[in-house]
């Protein structure tokens, strides 16, 4: 069923694609930055600090999205005993952690002028920090365990424990009183963010997705080279 995961074919793509993804990323990212920093209006209440949101929100989305993906891949990899899926999950994780940290740091920078504090132990912020710890555990587990079977088992357990946290992060602002505001963008109902601010937000999201893709391709390429060097013709 996973015949199309032929390493030599994938390798052809992963060794050539980063160049093009890089060009696309630079283009989208520059448009996004221009839109977010110059052309978009300031907020009626927050003034210019609203511009931090254009980095903060996409970063948080992507870090949640990547964790969900690595959980799905690890579980499928475990159930179908497919090593390739684990390697994809492993290569995705670093950009997830990066964006998790970006979301926390930009949130902190925004929090100081808006809320009046750098940090608050409210449900949203704390659960986001916990997600970061799960990312760390996942990446460290790949580093410290030599035995392949053991790594796969432990990273699967880490993703199962961590994935429970993802809906908690999403709904923390609705379930409990938090300092963090509820979601502005709703798919089913009307969003409470003006379209002139939504547009740069979506472009920045696209830019960050491309960046994650770029890092993923480079990481995954390295994994494939490692396999090649070991002289294995299949995963």
């Amino acid at each position: 069923m996973f015949k199309f995961f032929n390493p030599s074919k994938i390798f052809l793509i992963t060794s050539k694609a980063p160049k093009y993804v890089m060009i696309l990323f630079v283009m989208v990212f520059s448009i996004g930055l221009l839109e977010a920093l110059i052309f978009s209006p300031e907020d009626y209440k927050q003034g210019d600090s609203v511009r931090i949101m254009y980095v903060h929100v996409p970063a948080a989305w992507i870090s949640l999205g990547i964790f969900s993906s690595i959980t799905f891949l690890s579980l499928c990899g475990y159930i179908f005993k497919n090593m390739n899926l684990f390697l994809i999950a492993k290569s995705l994780a670093p950009s997830g952690l990066l964006f998790n940290i970006v979301a926390l740091v930009t949130g902190s920078i925004w929090g100081k002028p808006t809320w009046g504090t750098w940090w608050a132990w409210d449900a949203r912020i704390t659960s986001m920090l916990i997600l970061g710890l799960f990312y760390l555990m996942f990446l460290i587990a790949w580093r410290i365990y030599e035995d392949k079977e053991k790594v796969l088992r432990i990273t699967t357990i880490i993703t199962i424990l961590g994935i429970i946290n993802v809906p908690i992060i999403k709904y923390s602002v609705d379930w409990w009183n938090t300092l963090h505001q509820p979601a502005s963008i709703n798919i089913l109902s009307k969003s409470s963010i003006h379209s002139s601010m939504l547009f740069p937000l979506l472009i920045m999201t696209a830019a960050f997705v491309l960046f994650s893709l770029l890092i993923f391709l480079m990481k995954y390429n390295t994994e494939l080279i490692k396999i090649k060097n070991k002289g294995l013709d299949r995963l």
């Binding site: 475990y78 808006t114 009046g116 199962i160 601010m197």
Partner: protein
């Protein structure tokens, strides 16, 4: 179509996920008191007794309730059902204003009087340019 082992692993994973969800749910349920970042004035009203510990109260700053004398700020936090009088000396955040969300950290003196040691402004989920805000107000 899948082997017995694949099915076994699948149900094993499902069982683990369900039990983890259940245990996390129970933990959060029992810790609810600590997970909430602040209490509303109505929560305080229904509180049987209160101790001397630091708590946070959140709600909306009532319209026309901010009074500033020398370096002390007095205002009323409301959740449209109950109200609490707050006094605070110090700097308030920029976004602190009437009709907007606020979280006050400090000590309850009695059920309607609160002495804050820290004021945080709570931002809502509305994002719009000033012109749109002005247009909305003129409607």
């Amino acid at each position: 179509m899948y082997g017995r082992k694949v099915k076994l692993r699948f149900f094993f994973i499902v069982a683990i996920i369900l039990s983890v969800i259940l245990s996390v749910f129970l933990v959060l349920k029992s810790l609810e008191e600590n997970v909430v970042y602040f209490k509303s004035p109505s929560d305080i009203k229904s509180l049987g007794k209160f101790g001397n510990e630091k708590i946070r109260i959140g709600g909306m700053v009532k319209q026309d309730s901010i009074k500033i004398k020398s370096n002390q700020v007095n205002f009323i936090i409301t959740d449209l059902k109950s109200e609490i009088n707050v006094t605070y000396s110090g700097v308030v955040p920029n976004l602190f204003s009437e009709g907007k969300g606020v979280v006050a950290e400090g000590y309850l003196k009695d059920k309607i009087f609160f002495e804050a040691t820290k004021i945080l402004a709570k931002h809502d989920e509305n994002y719009m340019p000033p012109e749109v805000k002005a247009a909305l107000e003129n409607k």
